[in-house]
């Protein structure tokens, strides 16, 4: 496999937002006696779902009637954060993008009405608008074909649905935040990467920008070599809680040369942003280095969005030691290593 370095010109679509009337179904729900699903639409939706592309709805419609109809048609569960009401579609799409925590430039919007498409593009020029009458080749578009289809991709929708439940529980919860975290019964598993983890690991290096310390991407083959090499340690992190699994959400690559260890990469999925995973992983590596009597270094390359990772290193006690170009080298004196928080059970495998 060739190494993939530069991001494609057009980003892959992470979420398809559907209009309902004359797009998902033929007819207008509030006017026509009966509406029927458009031909092949269900197959199309199921294919997108299997590829790990999320789906939502932006429709000017009556919420109750539309949801009842979606249920009758057997497709209701396919949609995350459906926006059905009388808001402008540009607002609906913004809400969806914020709720899913994905960029507007990874959203496609399908509507039969040119006015609605224009309204969306006028406000969010990065959203890809598609005419509902031109969806025959939708599945063949390159931006609808992700580079990777992993176990995580296939489960992506159900993982987001679990997240909806979590958020609901969190907003209903009256006590302090730490107590809520305890309620989640989180279990973090840190293990050496195995062969079956590599596809997901490659995907993580490609997909994660915000919580990524260097932004270096690694191909499957590179990761496989690193995993087998005695000079490197490749760790993967999995998170589960009582609502379900987040899957493999963190990755770290540590170079081990003589008495020096160097964290070349540390990243985690944005979905676990407020769970303390980054700090736990760094502290775990610090403990390992200390036990093995090694000096511990880390690399950081700013990309405009990953400042949180820099702060994470700094607050874990790392200090800048040198800078060359964009690359900042840091070292920890391993003096203060934080215990794992008591709201999460950490298993080192």
């Amino acid at each position: 496999m060739k190494q993939m370095t530069v991001k494609q010109q057009t980003k892959k679509i992470k979420c398809v937002v559907w209009d309902l009337d004359n797009t998902v179904w033929q007819g207008v729900l509030l006017e026509d006696k009966q509406v029927v699903l458009r031909e092949k639409i269900k197959d199309m939706m199921n294919s997108l779902d299997e590829r790990g592309i999320l789906q939502s709805i932006a429709s000017k419609n009556d919420w109750d009637k539309a949801m009842t109809k979606l249920e009758q048609l057997g497709i209701k569960d396919l949609f995350l954060y459906p926006q059905i009401g009388w808001n402008s579609k540009s607002e609906s799409i913004k809400t969806i993008s914020e709720s899913l925590n994905i960029g507007l430039d990874t959203i496609a919007f399908i509507d039969d009405d040119p006015y609605e498409r224009d309204e969306v593009v006028f406000t969010h020029k990065e959203v890809r608008c598609i005419d509902a009458t031109e969806t025959d080749n939708l599945l063949d578009r390159s931006d609808m074909n992700p580079e990777f289809i992993t176990e995580e991709s296939k489960r992506r929708r159900s993982m987001y649905l679990a997240e909806v439940d979590r958020k609901l529980a969190e907003s209903d919860f009256k006590g302090p935040k730490d107590s809520f975290l305890k309620e989640l019964e989180m279990k973090l598993i840190i293990s050496d990467a195995k062969e079956e983890d590599l596809k997901r690991a490659e995907e993580l290096t490609m997909r994660t920008n915000q919580l990524n310390t260097t932004g270096v991407t690694y191909s499957y083959d590179e990761l496989d070599q690193l995993r087998k090499s005695d000079d490197f340690m490749l760790l993967v992190v999995e998170l589960n809680d009582k609502y379900g699994s987040y899957g493999k959400i963190g990755l770290s690559l540590i170079e081990m040369k003589g008495d020096k260890w160097n964290i070349k990469l540390l990243l985690m999925s944005c979905r676990v942003m407020s769970r303390g995973v980054g700090t736990i992983l760094i502290n775990h590596i610090m403990m390992l280095a200390k036990q093995n009597k090694k000096r511990l270094f880390a690399q950081f390359v700013p990309n405009g969005r990953n400042r949180q990772m820099y702060i994470t290193y700094k607050f874990a006690g790392f200090k800048d030691v040198s800078k060359s170009g964009d690359l900042i080298a840091m070292e920890s004196d391993l003096a203060n290593i934080q215990q794992f928080p008591d709201y999460v059970e950490v298993d080192i495998v």
Partner: protein, 79 residues
């Protein structure tokens, strides 16, 4: 409210404590997640309209209400 009071009320709310001393080490009071660290930095930057640079990002500068106040006041006076 002065700088110290503003910082204190923010920290108390975030740590869900009724009161802490101005020189208490907040990192010893409990686990500091990267999210909290980021929020703390952003809060100081936005509230006092300052720019916290890499050299300022030390545990020492953030470990207590006193130290955060010192950092914020030093940064404000530079502008």
């Amino acid at each position: 409210m002065n700088t110290k009071e503003i910082i204190k009320s923010y920290v108390l709310e975030k740590l869900e404590k009724d009161n802490i001393k101005n020189d208490d080490d907040i990192f010893e009071l409990g686990f500091v997640s990267s999210m909290f660290a980021m929020e703390l930095v952003m809060f100081l930057e936005q509230t006092f309209n300052i720019n916290i640079e890499s050299d300022d990002l030390t545990l020492d500068n953030f470990k207590s209400i006193d130290n955060m106040t010192k950092l914020a006041e030093k940064k404000v006076s530079i502008i």
